[in-house]
């Protein structure tokens, strides 16, 4: 069993189908996610990305097909599956009335870990939330909430993490902060399943990318493999203009602190 679990993919999905009344959201989804990799599930709104994540996190039952997480079947071994992963849903699922630290302690207690206070302090430090740790979460910015949300998912070091659209509704700095957190995770050997509708996010983070369209996976490969699906690159000479994001980040400072470089500002009159 242990040997099988070590060798088997961290997530295995085969022939997954799910309908909401007449609406057939998933029509036979297959994919595997290798251990320690970042896998991006890409698709437009309503493509069924969240439905896949909910089935994998035992919040929803599939109509047909099988799915396993960490070698455990989501339908028959739900309790073992829940020991194996953490979910960061589409909306930062944090308790607004509690402080950031209390949120972390709460999750550590629910995972039956020893020294929940120390775990909370470590994570606050890791996600640069120490100063805000004692404040009510309702006073946090969107990026801080997301960071807290992800920090809550890391408690207990689950081998697999589901991130459902982790950067939707975040400003550019918030997105970069989340991306850094995800990269760190994968660096430590955690398997990450990420859903997103932002193409650059998948490009930045994922080892493999699958595109979910009309209930099926239409392509699945590395970024290089996906790029080869189109005709080979032509060499064109294009004047490199800074993107609006470059300008925005240069003006407000990429770390979110005021770092306005005076030299880039020109008086218009």
């Amino acid at each position: 069993m242990t040997l099988y679990q070590v060798q088997a993919p961290a997530i295995h999905v085969q022939g997954l189908e799910k309908s909401y009344k007449e609406l057939r959201v998933l029509r036979g989804v297959d994919f595997d996610v290798a251990r320690g990799s970042i896998f991006a599930l890409l698709g437009s709104n309503g493509a069924g990305k969240t439905t896949v994540v909910k089935i994998l996190s035992t919040l929803l039952k599939a109509d047909a097909g099988t799915a396993s997480v960490n070698g455990f079947d989501v339908a028959t071994q739900a309790a073992d599956v829940r020991e194996s992963f953490s979910l960061t849903g589409q909306f930062a699922a944090v308790d607004e009335i509690l402080s950031g630290r209390e949120n972390l302690v709460l999750v550590a207690r629910l995972r039956h870990l020893k020294a929940p206070g120390n775990i909370a302090d470590d994570l606050l430090d890791r996600f640069s939330l120490t100063d805000a740790g004692a404040r009510k979460v309702s006073t946090y910015s969107g990026g801080m909430r997301r960071r807290l949300d992800i920090a809550m998912s890391l408690i207990g070091n689950p081998p697999v993490i589901f991130l459902d659209e982790p950067t939707s509704g975040l400003d550019p700095q918030g997105r970069i902060e989340v991306w850094q957190a995800v990269k760190e995770l994968a660096g430590q050997g955690t398997t990450v399943l990420l859903t997103t509708q932002y193409l650059d996010e998948a490009e930045q983070l994922a080892d493999r990318i699958a595109i979910l369209h009309e209930g099926r996976i239409i392509v699945n490969g590395t970024l290089t493999e996906l790029k080869q699906l189109l005709p080979p690159a032509k060499v064109e000479y294009v004047e490199k203009q800074p993107t609006l994001e470059d300008v925005f980040l240069a003006l407000v400072g990429a770390d979110g602190k005021d770092a306005t470089p005076a030299t880039t500002r020109k008086e218009s009159r």
Binding site: S57, L87, A93, L106, R111
Partner: protein, 253 residues
């Protein structure tokens, strides 16, 4: 039920009790309406009501206590609704915990919050002249009936809490419950009501519960009312719990 049920429920109960202590206004708003009714009926309308007793506030209090519970459980539904909407309910359900402890924590929190509200209302009633010669045993019986009544209505509140589409919808179900005591023996004796209304008033749960509590407070021999009251409370509790669990299973599958 897993081995962690009690531990997990305790942790989650601590969480929602913190919600209560950090928003004391919910306790205050819960008690404002029953206290306002009490003031209105005792000092404005009470003079014209012939309740057949010397102290109208003592006559009135049992019904007011039931109104307090009915308005308090609207917040239970509201808190559960907020957990559903924010996604934290799903976070808990996706964790390796005893899943039902999420609901039980809300139910126990509702019980604690309502008992605090009830104590506040009784204190105000004491200031307004409510006196009871009831001994400890009678008081225990009163508290027991109120706990049963609160649990029954709380499990009822779980249903809109799990299914409501808006915050207003989550609390709206409590309005008819708040009005029910008005068509009962809570404010006036049922003898003065016309036939059909009297028939309804005498056979709905509030009348028997109110009569039982009133007799316990007045140290009179409690007749069949207390058994009818207990039967109503237990019956409602079992029914509400069963429907709440069906609703819950539908939500998490």
């Amino acid at each position: 039920m897993t081995k962690h049920f009690f531990g997990d429920t305790g942790v989650l109960l601590g969480r929602s009790l913190r919600h209560i202590t950090r928003s004391v206004d919910t306790i205050i708003t819960t008690t404002i309406m029953p206290i306002a009714f009490m003031l209105l009926f005792v000092y404005v309308l009470g003079g014209a009501i012939d309740s057949g007793t010397d102290s109208y506030v003592s006559y009135l209090l049992p019904g007011i206590l039931l109104i307090t519970v009915a308005s308090g459980i609207a917040y239970t539904a509201f808190r559960l609704f907020l957990d559903m909407r924010s996604g934290i309910f799903e976070r808990f359900q996706s964790m390796p915990i005893a899943r039902s402890s999420v609901l039980w924590a809300h139910v126990l929190t509702s019980l604690v919050a309502n008992l605090i509200s009830l104590a506040v209302v009784v204190l105000v009633a004491l200031l307004m002249g409510f006196r009871s010669s009831a001994g400890p045993l009678a008081w225990l019986a009163v508290i027991g009936i109120l706990i049963l009544f609160t649990l029954a209505l709380t499990w009822l509140a779980v249903i809109p809490g799990l299914t409501a589409k808006s915050a207003d919808g989550a609390g709206a179900f409590s309005y008819p419950l708040i009005l029910l005591p008005f068509i009962s023996s809570a404010f006036v004796p049922t003898d003065s009501m016309p036939g059909p209304v009297r028939a309804f008033a005498e056979h709905q749960p509030v009348t028997s519960i109110v009569n039982a509590i009133r007799d316990l407070f007045a140290q009179q021999t409690v007749g069949a009312d207390i058994w009818i009251a207990l039967a109503w409370c237990l019956g409602l509790l079992v029914l509400a719990y069963a429907f709440a669990m069906v609703t819950y299973r539908r939500r998490i599958s």
